[in-house]
Symmetry: C4
């Protein structure tokens, strides 16, 4: 195998599509958001990319069947022909710095082949605490994108220097060198667990930018399930700390009545 | 030296062989199992693979003679011509992520040259505690393998996502991309020491799948020796903790009689 | 993208220039010094170098616009034609050992193309404590440079072996192999924060060596701002330690009068 | 620069030389031993090898002049024409696993060009405690070397598997693949500091094997200086522990007389 193998299943039917990227990253925000959009639009998978720059392993699905590390390409053609979309999603980024550059350039090569000029990369912004209403931050290749983002309450200007690590950042940097343009949307996330709630916040912006409408129902469900798991974990942690005498027990309802 | 050097000693006499892989990994389960099968079948070594992706070192054998880091290929032709086997065993995997891909593809190239279509990779599944009767887990490239495995009490379906790190996983992933198929058998192991007992559990499944019979005597001996070393280590640990006053001394038999 | 992309904006008008290097390093001393000289001389940017050996990320500027990891080349032609200068500055060095060699050779290739024979690399020497009057250390490719440096109170001879890590060192080593020559000027710095004061000390030597004069005003301002931030941080640290009872509170002025 | 640059100063006048390797490693035992032999025989430097697999840095000598990371080749022709020697010494090994393989193969390529068939690699064996009379261990490519080594009290057979990490090991492993032969001599060393005493023990064996005689005076001096530094450090450590009350003060001579 050379460095990259592209297995193509069919020829995508797209006209001047934009690219939406959602690979694993902090809170898997970008990946969840892109995959949800992909699913809801019933986008079609047209190619898979394998690479020896990916981690040297396979995953095992619940069925016991293995899954290679890979990036998948999907396409969606809008009925009105106004806005076609290519997606790149998957279970991994590269395992080395050079690999990240090679991978990003592969994705751009494939995208350019189908006429992509604009790139939307999606990710999470780790804030180290649980966020109920995650804000969405933006970073752009060209100033012209800023007014539209700010109208949607995306935070673009910031106090100090920031950075976008990995494919979400490199795609934009390398795209601009090639004369393409785009932006990165980042949802606030604790960074402690998969965060569908942050993904939903990002997707609400992205769908407005793309002029598409999708049902958020499944994402809301996933977010609620995640919240339940977090609440459960917090309860267990609290109980453990009570048992260890680190914090005081809260009075039970019965005890409170008695006191009352 | 280019990236890989294959030193071939003879031409293997095989017809549609399967490949059995057992390289070093957790508890060295796969390596012990594959080497035992290799030895008992009196398989013949036909090639050694050297690579600059291996760790930059040599081993020193008890005799004082050095041993290069290498992977060895063996073959075994069944008398009835029903089931020939290629083996890849050795003292190392690659030292880098890309190297693991390169190595796995080298092994597949060599295997395909001799007609391999099905691959059995062997490994350990670390559970962090000593296991007396290790269960065997399976992961497959294609669903069709599952019924036979489940009939042999191999656990295939699982709760969450798992992963197979290294050559045992990559061989399967890359094989499937090439149109080949196979499975990984993983024996439960503590992961604390070489585990011939887990290797025996894996081999009991593999021999049934391959329709071969081998004597497990030497493996049972090795397992007993390993058990004795573990028991000894536990006894020493217990004594140390008694001496340090961390746990109470058990009464000796004499003391027990006295008490009685 | 191959390993390096050079985007050239214009042809530099220089005759036998020297090269001044200031890439990020300890205390960013070299980078601040080179950038200040570049700015004050109104040197012109003529090329940017991109590389997949750089960290796989982009930066986000305060405006929300991304900035690629890159090295920029500037040139300055002296009016009297006595001393032209090329500069290489930027926001990164390479992220791998081999990358550092490749990058240094790229910089030398570009420099040699414009006739560079002498190289000045700038950096910090971490001393682990805050330094009010930073000394400047020098290391040279050829003995002939030593007298001039010592006349300027640069410390050249030292007790034990030292080392110059990264591009500042490699440029000199690789230059000498090519038959070029040069030196590294290192300003003492704590290594805890960006150090414009150390950069100023380095620049005072470099400008004398190059026979150019530049206003240090902005550097002095930056140094004062850095000092204020450090003083502020020390005050906060002191207060925290007082609050925690680790050190005793200093009496306030009022208390002192009362005591008096 | 390609991966390796060989700067050749002159053509070595040798006939069927052996190669002696002494690059930096544990206690710098091999490097000190090889360099001492090189110096005492007045061997001549004939080439320097530079590589982008070396650490990305330069060293600064006491004079303030930089020194590239490099490996140097020396040759010595015996007067009686019985035993010519090539040496490879230097200030570094490679900084990556693949680099170590590339470097070892470079050294072998150069050595084979001048007819080398037998290789002696020198190193330290870290034992984690200060050793007054360091034993010398040996490992060989072929059994035939063992009797001669054992006659010289070199320990060849051992209890378990050992390993030789780095160029000292790889040279032997790769040499054997090429049909060459050799051995590694390892002197016991604490591993805490440069150990000329262990180097002397190794050299006493090597010179007998090579049939050369060299003065050990300078090595003895260096060993004594190292001993003094260690004793000094131990004294300071003892004093610090006394001051901290961790151990009791030894009575001074005066106090002892008084007691007496």
């Amino acid at each position: 195998m050379s460095e990259f193998i592209l297995k193509k299943f069919k020829e995508p039917e797209v006209k001047n599509p934009v690219l939406v990227e959602g690979l694993p990253g902090i809170g898997h925000v970008g990946r969840i958001a892109a995959k949800h959009l992909c699913n809801e639009l019933k986008a079609e998978k047209f190619a898979s990319l394998f690479s020896d720059t990916f981690p040297p392993q396979v995953l095992i699905k619940k069925s016991g069947i293995i899954q290679e590390m890979r990036n998948d390409f999907y396409y969606w053609s809008s009925e009105d022909g106004k806005r076609d979309i290519l997606f790149v999603v998957g279970n991994t980024q590269s395992s080395t710095p050079e690999g990240q550059y090679l991978l990003s350039n592969q994705i751009l090569d494939i995208s350019e082949k189908y006429g992509v000029k604009t790139i939307y990369t999606l990710g999470g912004l780790g804030v180290g605490r649980i966020v109920e209403k995650p804000k969405v931050y933006g970073a752009v290749t060209h100033e012209k994108f800023i007014p539209e983002l700010e109208k949607l309450d995306v935070i673009v200007r910031r106090d100090g220097m920031g950075q976008i690590i990995g494919v979400s950042g490199l795609l934009l940097g390398l795209a601009r060198i090639r004369g393409l343009e785009g932006m990165c949307l980042m949802g606030e996330t604790s960074g402690y667990y998969l965060d569908p709630n942050s993904a939903k916040a990002v997707l609400e912006i992205l769908t407005k930018l793309l002029g598409v409408t999708v049902d958020m129902g499944k994402l809301v469900e996933k977010a609620k399930a995640a919240e339940r798991r977090v609440a459960e974990a917090q309860k267990m942690e609290r109980k453990m700390m009570e048992d260890l005498g680190i914090i005081q027990k809260e009075p039970s309802e019965d005890q409170m009545r008695y006191i009352g």
